[in-house]
Symmetry: C2
Subunit: 371 residues, 2 copies
């Protein structure tokens, strides 16, 4: 066995994530590693917190990055907020709602599922009926931007309904953060998680999360221990939460946090509103080109995510062959369908650093050449 | 709020980890991100697996890196192998044995604690008595190299005892992997976890793990679901385990895996035996210098870890002041005591890339200047 250094090919990443990472962020990843209790590192962590507060549009004190990918951010929200026996209403309109159900049940909770068709937004009326039928529910969970379908739901309305019925909310914004409007404080979202590798365009491995005071209070008032030691916010708060003293909990992924920091500095430089507008502009440009080619969208126009374009594979076209030709001949990655949509759709990402006119043109030209 | 790019100071990391990361590994972290299902990335994952099998000295098929720091690797072992009601004997001789107890209990298991003094090795006779007294125990867990004390235990003997009494074993090798001899197959270790940021000298954020067939079988035969979705090996095996098809589970931390891959290539180039000898040689050199200065070791000579030198703070010396002067005047990080040893010891790491004569001299000279 002799294995040598790995030099990856240079792809254009236009799938559902990871998205293309800019040279600035890649270079940040390569800066010298610091000790995780070094005052210089702790200063950087405070900046990451402030930058995440801006990206999430929140003043929540408990705002930080879980030291693992988005799936762990999801688990962090559920493991901390669900106690055994808790009833949780989960709105499912794609793969990730199903993963929420798994999380609820593995935490000893009872999941009440509210189903919508894949490719549509969550229907607020169905949620309201479920809330009325389940007055003992304590939590509502849904996905703001379904990565498996490209559909966006009306988070503000869903959270209002949940609160009206006395429930806290957990919202998945893995694919929406900085790509489409998301206002955590204005919309009163109680617990939220995202990922580093979508519209932030940092490498995968970190999950930004934020909890408001109501959620933090529920966690402090638990009568049972959080089942995960690694994700127990009562312990993590000692490291990320307070000013000043940082108690050792686990070793933070130092260089990944450098990358996330740089990606958030870029978001701040551009400004959130400009970022949302850019994602929308490039989406419209891609849409125009796809429509010219006769390629249609899965999601009704009003619910489409500009950063994740889910299109129906044209009749008679070989899904796997097209994707592998795009990868091998053009170094272009687009995403396959997931779960029930496998073989039926492609997911074309225009996320963060990858959302630009050059990529739109490149993707359209490559698709034209292959189809 | 205007936050700019973060440029860390360049430290020499001689604490308990993270250790200094070489330029080669840092540059690998900055290579272009690939999709986590890209065939080129999957080829690299297969290489990481082969390289980890070499580092662990095992043929275990289920050998991979958990997508989170060592604490999550620990939790991965316990969450998968402990079912509610399982009795687990935990040998504690430092901080991390206590964390194992937390893990057992949060998984619904019953922890039987076997205590040894901090700074000594685990006493095999005490383990044997506990095994005799608890014939219904199903697991034994202990730390091979206690990061909080710098003591090494006789893993081979402890595993033999556990097996003689019908128990599987979970062994923490966060600080030992590639620093001191560790032979997973020869010693019949059933489940093992480590960290990327100690003797491998990759940035923190990944936890190499390995499970033999007996452990994998116990996981497959569980009657309850693993409480963590993110760490459920029945799901993760679909991504890391088999040849060929890689089912989507979570998004792997692509660039961190580049760094781990490069660090493992370096281990392979040097050879394990040479790496163990280098750690021992530099330890002896540091020891000679410290003894000249009248600084003594916490751990009896025969149980000392060469990669983590735990020394007693001389009478009348201000712990925090010395460490902050080393950091501010010399850019040198050494570690504080943890838990019961806080304020009583320093932990001087000579791990991986940081284990060299230049660092030994630098550390001794800096300490001389400050003391």
């Amino acid at each position: 066995m002799t294995i040598t250094s790995f030099i990856p090919p240079r792809r254009t990443l236009m799938g559902p994530g990871p998205s293309d990472v800019s040279e600035r962020v890649l270079q940040a990843m390569a800066r010298p590693t610091l000790g995780h209790l070094d005052p210089a590192f702790i200063g950087m962590m405070n900046e990451v917190k402030a930058l995440l507060q801006y990206a999430f549009q929140t003043k929540n004190e408990l705002t930080f990055a879980v030291s693992a990918p988005g799936s762990a951010g999801m688990e962090c929200c559920f493991a901390n907020l669900v106690e055994p026996g808790d009833k949780v209403i989960v709105c499912q309109n794609g793969v990730f709602g199903g993963r929420m159900q798994e999380n609820v049940e593995r935490c000893g909770g009872v999941a009440v599922m509210v189903q919508d068709d894949w490719g549509t937004a969550v229907d607020p009326h169905k949620l309201e009926s479920a809330l009325v039928a389940n007055p003992d529910a304590v939590l509502v969970a849904f996905v703001h931007a379904e990565t498996s379908t490209g559909a966006q739901s009306d988070a503000k309305t869903l959270v209002e309904l949940a609160h009206k019925h006395g429930c806290l909310t957990i919202v998945d914004t893995v694919t929406s953060l900085t790509g489409t409007p998301l206002l955590v404080d204005d919309w009163n979202i109680d617990a939220i998680y995202s990922g580093s590798q979508k519209c932030l365009s940092a490498p995968p491995g970190l999950s930004p999360v934020s909890f408001n005071e109501r959620a933090a209070e529920k966690i402090r008032q638990r009568t049972t221990k959080v089942q995960s030691w690694f994700l127990d916010l009562n312990l993590v708060m000692g490291y990320w939460g307070g000013e000043g003293k940082r108690a050792y909990h686990h070793t933070a992924p130092v260089n990944c946090l450098y990358g996330l920091h740089e990606s958030l500095v870029i978001v701040q430089e551009e400004g959130l509103e400009n970022s949302w507008a850019r994602h929308q502009r490039n989406h419209l440009s891609l849409r125009a080109g796809l429509e010219e080619m006769g390629v249609g969208f899965l999601v009704p126009e009003e619910d489409r995510l500009p950063q994740l374009n889910t299109v129906t594979i044209p009749e008679g076209v070989d899904d796997a062959l097209v994707r592998s030709r795009l990868l091998n001949e053009f170094d272009l990655e687009i995403g396959a369908g997931l779960g029930a949509l496998a073989g039926k759709v492609w997911r074309i990402g225009l996320m963060g650093h990858a959302s630009n006119q050059k990529n739109v043109d490149f993707c359209l030209n490559s698709l034209r050449a292959v189809l």
